[in-house]
């Protein structure tokens, strides 16, 4: 492996960059097929209601309307909005919860469970006609009581929204060790309560599906999806169309972040295209996108720790309540994720997850998948413990951090061992870059308070509930160029480029001679999709294996062509070379040409490989923040943001940096400005970019990304995941910096100016910011044993 790398580890140009920078890249929303019809959804003006009747006659009579469909027209088949196959849908949900509560969604139903839920679909010749037709549909509703927050839905008199282990809730419990015993061994006990808000992905390309029906019965679907194969299966299961007649294509995709890991409107669009036997396009507006597509789970997190005098954490008791919205979707897995993404070697942990159903659209997958919430709570809580015990917060973290050779904390049913961990180097480099151990600089004016803080996170490289799986194909054309086919889509993060680099490096060709395609269910090989930060590690390993097989075939032909022993041959940079001295003996182009034209037994070099993950190596990150608070306005200005990430190996450092910078921006939005606000009827009040405030160029500070490479033995060239982790430490780092500035622990996201001003008021009232450690308050109840 210690061969010089020519492509991997280099800032090679992204394979899609020129098309995107010139406007040539074609997205799903750029598809305008000849004769294409436009579909629009009628949405419920009530958050919880039975549909007593729907009259579509007037709408159907409108010139240009081709179809109006309601729940009476669509197949009465339940499916899960998570998109997972049946056997994986339950996640960690107790077996007492019936499958019907998990496969809980119909294409259209006779009941609505959130404001804006689709009630009917219209297909018309153009958008204007479709919109007019929506107005002509008469729906009679029987309005029911609704509940929108966790507390409302758990109240005794709450309306019944969804079944679970009991009304409106699925309770799960994960236990490690003996927490009761752990707390007995502890000298101190600390307990805190945190809340987090909903966050919307706001992919810049809104959700769009275009389906084409062919007279043979074949359906082609173009969609803004992260999971083409799950969508193909879902179409087949719900509509009863054989998979052989369904082709799902993911064109260039305008962002994903988990939103498109869900089933969007793909199945309904295919149904409509089949219904009218014409191409149909269903694109949702920005308002629908922000208000109604899946969001990050709002949560309540109670965390209790038992700590020994020497700083060893001996027990965690964590309880989460997450607002799942009206449908189960990804909630079982997001709940589990909150339990596993803890990088500390705490022997006794009790985790209680409460998935709470409300009359909001469903919460689901969003970059970090539960990690931003749990990291925020845990890292603020641990910072508080360190400070109250008079410990250096970094040393306190490292003292309790999981070590290489120990059980991988992400393991649940597997015996995975942690084989790499660059956290120490992340701390060292991050602390140095921000000046953590230097005397603090004063605030820039008397009107400002200044503080520094950090937080740690750990995230997956692929799914961790079960071994992950991917497959890929590498072909060598007769001119020696490569085609890489992979079923997990590039959403914009750059996985096509990284996969191309892995293949180019292994086969030994130049990057400009590699083409990568993802994803088309008729041409790429089966894959779970693009999520769980799985591309670099799981997908990368599948590409690595396919490329190794292709290279082996290439070398056989090279041996035949040159008369040399195959064991003495290798490749590099477009050449077949002698293994012992690197001497060039033939170009790969000539060998590839030979393979199809002149070889004894001619063959097209083409290899497919599958990879079942042997581990789920965690990636690690520490974010440091230096910030100032304006005492008059409560405004937070981030002076410097340092993000140190252990990625194993940066296959493309520019792409890795870009992932870090982008997730820091989303983490800052989550921390400071992004919030989903609802009125008393469950209608979102801020479903547009004026009022739902994602960071803009002027809001973003300089982000210094530090890439740490502690090679992962099982990763392709040592690589681990990086896509999601960067969003998780940001809120905790900012909260801990606010504490240093004000002496107030911020426990409720987001840190709006109003909340920060309250902290400033407390600071002013108190005069001194450091609070003395009240040892008595934390002493473990010795008598209670």
């Amino acid at each position: 492996m210690e061969k010089n790398l020519n492509v991997v580890g280099k800032r090679v140009q992204r394979v899609d960059a020129i098309d995107k920078a010139t406007g040539a890249a074609k997205y799903t929303s750029d598809m305008y097929l000849p004769g294409m019809l436009i579909a629009k959804l009628l949405r419920s003006p009530y958050a919880h209601a039975n549909i007593k009747s729907i009259n579509t006659e007037k709408a159907k009579a409108l010139e240009g309307v081709k179809a109006v469909v309601t729940w009476e027209d669509v197949p009465r088949v339940r499916y899960s909005t998570a998109g997972y196959p049946k056997e994986t849908i339950p996640g960690l949900v107790p077996p007492t919860v019936p499958m019907t509560e998990l496969e809980d969604h119909y294409l259209l139903d006779n009941k609505v469970r959130y404001y804006g839920e689709a009630v009917a679909a219209v297909v018309a010749v153009d958008e204007k006609t479709a919109n007019k037709a929506l107005e002509l549909i008469d729906v009679e509703y029987e309005v029911l009581d609704a509940a929108f927050t966790i507390d409302e839905a758990l109240a005794e008199d709450a309306p019944f929204i969804h079944g679970g282990t009991s009304k409106n809730v699925i309770q799960t419990e994960i236990i490690k060790g003996d927490t009761e015993q752990g707390f007995k061994e502890a000298d101190y006990i600390f307990e805190d309560f945190y809340t987090t808000q909903g966050q919307q992905h706001t992919c810049m390309e809104s959700s769009c599906s275009v389906a084409n029906y062919e007279p043979s019965g074949k359906i082609t679907l173009w969609s803004t999806t992260q999971v083409p194969y799950h969508i193909r299966r879902g179409i087949s299961e719900v509509l009863g169309i054989p998979m052989s007649k369904i082709r799902v294509i993911k064109p260039t995709l305008g962002g994903g972040f988990g939103e498109r890991q869900m089933v969007q409107n793909e199945i309904l669009t295919v149904f409509l295209a089949q219904y009218v036997k014409k191409p149909v396009r269903l694109e949702i507006s920005r308002e629908e996108n922000i208000a109604l597509t899946t969001r990050r789970h709002p949560s309540q997190i109670r965390i209790k720790s038992g700590v020994k005098k020497d700083g060893t954490i001996v027990a965690f008791d964590i309880e989460t309540k997450t607002n799942a919205g009206a449908y189960t979707g990804h909630s079982p897995y997001v709940t589990k994720a909150m339990f596993t993404k803890v990088p500390y070697r705490v022997p006794n942990v009790t985790y209680r997850g409460n998935i709470v159903y409300t009359n909001l659209s469903d919460s689901g997958a969003f970059r970090g998948y539960g990690n931003p919430q749990i990291s925020f709570a845990r890292e603020c809580h641990l910072d508080r413990i360190a400070k109250e015990l008079g410990r250096d917060p970094i040393e306190f973290r490292l003292q309790n951090f999981v070590r290489v050779g120990e059980r991988n904390p992400l393991s649940m049913n597997q015996d995975w061992i942690l084989e790499s961990c660059g956290i120490k180097e992340c701390f060292e480099k991050g602390a140095k870059a921000i000046g953590y151990y230097e005397p603090r600089k004063p605030a820039s004016s008397k009107n400002k308070l200044r503080g520094m803080g950090f937080a740690v996170s750990m995230h997956v490289s692929g799914t961790s509930a079960e071994p992950d799986f991917s497959s890929a194909q590498v072909k060598i054309n007769e001119d020696g160029t490569l085609i890489v086919l992979i079923g997990s889509p590039d959403l914009g993060q750059g996985s096509d480029t990284s996969h191309g680099q892995v293949a180019a490096e292994i086969v030994g060709v130049k990057m400009e001679n590699v083409k990568v395609y993802s994803a088309d269910t008729d041409f790429t090989s089966f894959d779970m999709g693009s999520y769980a930060s799985r591309q670099s590690y799981v997908g990368g390993n599948a590409v690595r294996k396919a490329a190794e097989k292709a290279k082996a075939q290439l070398l056989e032909f090279a041996a035949e062509m040159t008369g040399q022993d195959v064991r003495n041959l290798d490749t590099a940079d477009g050449w077949v070379i002698r293994r012992e001295n690197g001497r060039k003996i033939a170009t790969i182009e000539d060998v590839a040409h030979f393979s199809v034209y002149n070889a004894r037994d001619r063959k097209f070099i083409n290899a497919t490989a599958s990879y079942q993950a042997l581990n789920c190596p965690p990636s690690f990150a520490v974010h440091f923040v230096d910030l100032e608070i304006d005492k008059e306005t409560g405004e937070i200005e981030i002076l410097k943001f340092v993000a140190a990430h252990d990625v194993g190996k940066a296959v493309n450092p520019a792409i890795v940096e870009a992932q870090i910078e982008g997730s820091v921006a989303q983490g800052m939005g989550f921390s400071l400005t992004e919030d989903m606000i609802y009125d008393k009827n469950g209608r979102m009040l801020n479903p547009n970019f004026t009022d739902y405030k994602v960071p803009r160029a002027k809001d973003m500070p300089k982000v210094e990304s530090i890439i740490v490479e502690d090679p992962e033995p099982s990763g392709p060239f040592g690589a681990k995941g990086v896509g999601e982790i960067g969003i998780a430490p940001a809120p905790g780092a900012i909260a801990n910096a606010i504490y240093e500035a004000t002496g107030v622990w911020m426990k409720d996201l987001p840190f709006t100016k109003e909340k920060v001003l309250k902290a400033v008021e407390q600071y002013e009232a108190r005069g001194a910011k450091e609070l003395p450690f009240k040892e008595k308050e934390h002493e473990a109840e010795k008598s209670g044993r």
């Binding site: 920078a21 040539a24 972040f257 921006a665 803009r696």
Partner: protein, 164 residues
């Protein structure tokens, strides 16, 4: 009932080509560019002027084409992302976006490039603050703006170098 609206004749130049089209009163420039002319490089991210994905240059100024009525473009000279590269290849802003991996999903990229091109057409030597101001109306959800800002600043230097 048939939904018919009156159409009005407009003439405009897009990327150097003359067009004559009949449009309805409420039709936006973005829609005409994308659907009528097939210039789908101009993206629509919000359809209300919030996100800047639809930014084009009209008579020398960056405008959000999703809130410009097509009728207002009568007689205008319009440049879209498709008209930025020329026979010599990519524009320096495009080159730097490609070079620095300032492109991720790419949906906001045309808008960012048009907004920054309008800036550099007027101000050859902007500060970082001026660059961030110029793209302040453009939302990018992928990059955190770091690489796009660096790309625009580097392109400005390159453009200055060529002028010298």
């Amino acid at each position: 009932m048939i939904l018919m609206s009156q159409k009005y004749k407009v003439n405009f130049t897009v990327n150097g080509d003359q067009y004559e089209r009949y449009v309805e009163a409420g039709e936006t420039l973005a829609s005409v560019l994308r659907v009528e002319l097939g210039l789908t490089g101009t993206k629509v991210g919000c359809d209300r002027g919030d996100c800047g994905a639809c930014t084009v240059i009209m008579n020398g100024k960056a405008v959000k084409s999703c809130i410009i009525p097509a009728l207002k473009a009568d007689g205008a000279e319009i440049q879209t992302i498709e008209g930025v590269a020329d026979e010599n290849g990519l524009h320096p802003i495009q080159q730097e976006f490609v070079e620095l991996a300032a492109v991720q999903c790419g949906y906001c990229t045309p808008g960012l490039i048009m907004a920054s091109k309008a800036l550099l057409d007027e101000n050859k030597n902007p500060t970082e603050e001026e660059v961030r101001e110029a793209i302040g109306g453009n939302i990018c959800r992928c990059t955190g703006y770091e690489k796009p800002v660096q790309a625009i600043l580097k392109a400005a230097k390159k453009l200055n170098g060529e002028c010298l």
